[in-house]
Symmetry: C2
Subunit: 195 residues, 2 copies
DNA sequence: CTATGAAAATGACCGTGGTCAATTTAGTCT
DNA sequence: AGACTAAATTGACCACGGTCATTTTCATAG
């Protein structure tokens, strides 16, 4: 063995895991997150059902990987863009992320369920992305600067809280996308620019 | 028929519904919300499985009724008490509600999932309780008064958002109850008393 | 009282997530 | 190469939420 400290994982296993992820992503793109069935995934991947659960604790864990990865992309893009110069622009920056998080009720539920890490030893990709998100918001707050009276980290947590709240209320049928944006804008205005 | 506008619901049906609710509450008190099984409920209630689903759209709908009712009690108690005179006292008032909402991960998930009404025509008990909660917070804000620069309703929505955020982060293993309270306190301080 | 139609209740059945003892395969030692 | 061990895979099986055609019960009319 080249490295005695490495726990032995055969490349066959990595390939299988990859087949499962690829099959799942394909099926999701064809249908939706909500409609994904484990049996369909294993059939498309050409493996037995038990194999799925040898690679993912449960269906939710697969979802967390895929949704977390997509959030990571969106947040990275958002972070690459210039720091928003006002609140309207800040909301604009968040639109891609909002679009994904509201694309399906199911997606939002999975995200919320994993937003607080389940256990310290087991911080999943979605919880990680929330940390990233808060850090990004904190950076925005530091550069503007909004709310110099409190720590940028705290400002970031507040933005995150209002971000979630705005999206959650959006799933009420009478609230449209437009309502979401303007609501988020007034939340952030009240949070970031108290008179 | 005494009242031609009343859709006929036999009292037998109301009794059955009551048996189901009573059985469910009993089983929950013996075990937990998470451990509740529909089959156990119908066995305890002495009815067939199909009957359950004639009375509740799905298991979630039953949970919403029971959890919503308990929230209503807690919020009513909270509303009866005097308006908190500072933020520390405000957090103190919220402790019973926090205690229930953090009693089980499953309970919090159900609450979040129903906090934004699913459809305007179908506002469930939990969504109703959130409205009540926000209205109560708005009353507190109006009486103090906190944040005279913005509408009390908006202040209430903010308190609600931070309330949720504090609880969600609490499910991270390294954050204890004490951490929850002090975190909520600093959130509310930053929200209600900007310098 | 009996007939009738609608409300309520029934339970066999199904879909889907998840388990696990048994089997196959990959890497290693002699 | 053959033997040996542990990782990886398999698929029959189970648990549990949810469905629906059929049956039972109730209320009312004649």
């Amino acid at each position: 063995m080249t490295n005695p400290m490495t726990k032995p994982i055969q490349k066959r296993a990595l390939a299988t895991r990859d087949k499962l992820l690829t099959a799942a992503k394909y099926l999701i793109s064809k249908e939706s997150f909500e409609a994904l069935r484990v049996e369909d995934v294993v059939r498309a991947a050409g493996v037995a059902k038990g194999t799925f659960f040898a690679h993912f604790k449960d269906k939710d864990a697969l979802m967390e990987q895929i949704i977390g990865a997509r959030m990571a992309d969106l947040i990275a893009e958002t972070a690459d863009a210039q720091t928003p110069k006002d609140i309207r622009e800040m909301v604009e920056r968040l639109l891609p992320l909002i679009h994904f998080m509201t694309s399906e009720r199911y997606v939002f539920d999975v995200i919320i369920r994993h937003s607080g890490a389940a256990a310290i030893s087991d911080i999943g990709p979605i919880a990680t992305q929330f940390d990233e998100q808060i850090a990004l918001f904190a950076r925005w707050a530091r550069e503007a600067p909004y709310r110099p009276d409190i720590a940028p980290e705290l400002v970031g947590e507040g933005i995150s809280a209002f971000f979630i709240q705005a999206i959650a209320l959006n799933f009420c049928a009478l609230n449209s996308r437009q309502a979401l944006e303007s609501r988020l804008e007034s939340y952030l205005d009240a949070w970031l620019c108290p008179k």
